[in-house]
Symmetry: C2
Subunit: 310 residues, 2 copies
């Protein structure tokens, strides 16, 4: 058995426009890194966090990484184990790219490897959801499941939890832009109406079914036609500066589809190749610069493998 | 060019439990038959209808078959053509099995063949929807599209119309029971609330995505897990005598899943083989008999080909 490990876990795009709370996919970058090693002292401690500008708690009970590792150790009945964690944030916090999820998943993947792969990635999902609950008050799975499994993932059901890996279309890229404004996940959720018109719900599940079909059929055009959100985007996009212009720039430059990543403020486009993704993020960042918004861009293939040992 | 033709078009199960207004599949039987021949007199006439107990209009403007054929001829700019139609109803009217759809589709398939296959089955869908509008006041496509295309069909979008053929799982059977009570489609639609909880809508589109994934993966268990309807079934099932008992009989006897066909009162189960389907319909019919409800049963493979020339 290894004594220490270093793991990378990917950022993720939840919802994928039409699949609110049920769909997500992972990207190759950005992502977070966790170093973990056994210690002689019982219990889980956060030794160090880098790249967070002091925003994340070092208290092991409050930090999502240590807290979910603790849940895992309790589940496998090994609370006797001593573990020390270093978390290296390599992606922006509060960006809508599954930042807490990437950290949590890296930690869980690491401890599971150190303990000898006792659980499958799918079996780790509930523990990662505990981390999400701590981070944003709501134990959703549409970031942690794709971060753990890689590629596109469907959360068919939450009770009982039923997670389905979907095919990752060959050659697909994600063009992500993070406008550096603050949209806390909790606020973004509260903006959503609790009642929706059945007519809109039908439109939405037609599109969810279309997107899933497109993934299985490797049909980029069908995927694009299905990336429409009549329920959540109209409200949430208000919080994102330059949203409609960024959509136009994405679609005019050949995106398959465009929308909000998770609860925002990051936006993403899916593209057929890297070149298109780069053109889109460049144009969108130029627009944001013009309206005095700082931004970060990430161009990456859709991730097919989930976390990896570094 | 042929002068006359006889066509069979299949019954269909709309909604498939979770996919209200967007999913449907066809069965090999029952279905309706249309005989059609060219005449020397301009215009479309209904010459004869059998098997309808006099319930369907002979007036060409009011009958869904002739009216949709008329739409078709207008579209291809051939209103000069004279056509005479015999409709043989071989399935119960108002049963929730796409009775009007089977007739309409048989007629459209027939005229399109007679005119030399000018349109594809998918291109015929809008004309068949005109027939549905006439028959039940609402131009839905979740019966006519699977009747035209065969197998499982997704209507991703109505505006614009976007119809996607889904894979038909190998060896899958449908066990259909029609309790002979009256549930007009219009009434069944009016029972449905126009506003739904977002939470329920999320549950529903998770299941729609799961069902579609199960069809692509040929995963009968996933298909079954996804056949849940938290929105429409709780209300509509009240109109169907013995519904919960029929569900229990289906599931206890090995059904993949069970639910209402379209707006009811027919119910259906999907099964892994013919034998299971027969056991289920027999048990359900016995139960209906016990509560003094007459019924008809149909056991059939899921239809993969759509209408056929007889």
């Amino acid at each position: 058995m290894k004594n220490s490990i270093k793991v990378f876990a990917p950022a993720t795009v939840a919802n994928v426009v039409c699949g609110f709370d049920v769909l997500g996919f992972a990207v190759n970058e950005p992502g977070d890194e966790v170093e973990m090693r056994f210690t002689d002292t019982q219990g889980v401690v956060i030794k160090r966090i880098t790249g967070d500008d002091g925003r994340l708690p070092l208290d092991a009970a409050k930090n999502t990484v240590s807290a979910s590792v603790q849940h895992y150790l309790k589940h496998i009945n090994r609370l006797d184990v001593g573990v020390e964690i270093e978390l290296h944030k390599k992606m922006p916090i509060g960006s809508g790219l599954g930042s807490s999820s990437a950290s949590t998943v890296a930690g869980l993947f690491a401890i599971n490897k150190l303990m000898g792969d006792l659980l499958t990635p799918t079996e780790l999902v509930p523990f990662a959801m505990k981390g999400e609950e701590l981070a944003c008050g709501y134990g959703h799975a549409d970031n942690v499941a794709p971060a753990l499994l890689g590629g596109f993932v469907l959360i068919r059901s939450y009770e009982p939890l039923d997670v389905i890996s979907l095919p990752t279309p060959v050659g697909m890229y994600a063009a992500i832009v993070y406008p550096e404004v603050d949209v806390p996940t909790k606020d973004a959720r509260q903006m959503i109406r609790s009642k929706v018109a059945l007519k809109d719900a039908v439109t939405q599940w037609g599109n969810v079914a279309g997107l899933v079909s497109g993934l299985f059929m490797n049909d980029f055009d069908l995927i694009g036609r299905s990336m429409k959100d009549v329920l959540v985007e109209p409200t949430r996009s208000i919080l994102i500066p330059g949203f409609e212009e960024m959509r136009k720039l994405a679609m005019d430059n050949g995106a398959i589809g465009f929308g909000i990543s998770g609860s925002g403020p990051s936006v993403f486009a899916l593209t057929k190749d890297e070149e298109t993704a780069k053109i889109i993020t460049k144009a969108q960042q130029q627009h944001l610069h013009k309206i005095n918004i700082n931004s970060k861009a990430f161009v990456s293939p859709v991730n097919a493998e989930g976390p990896k040992i570094m």
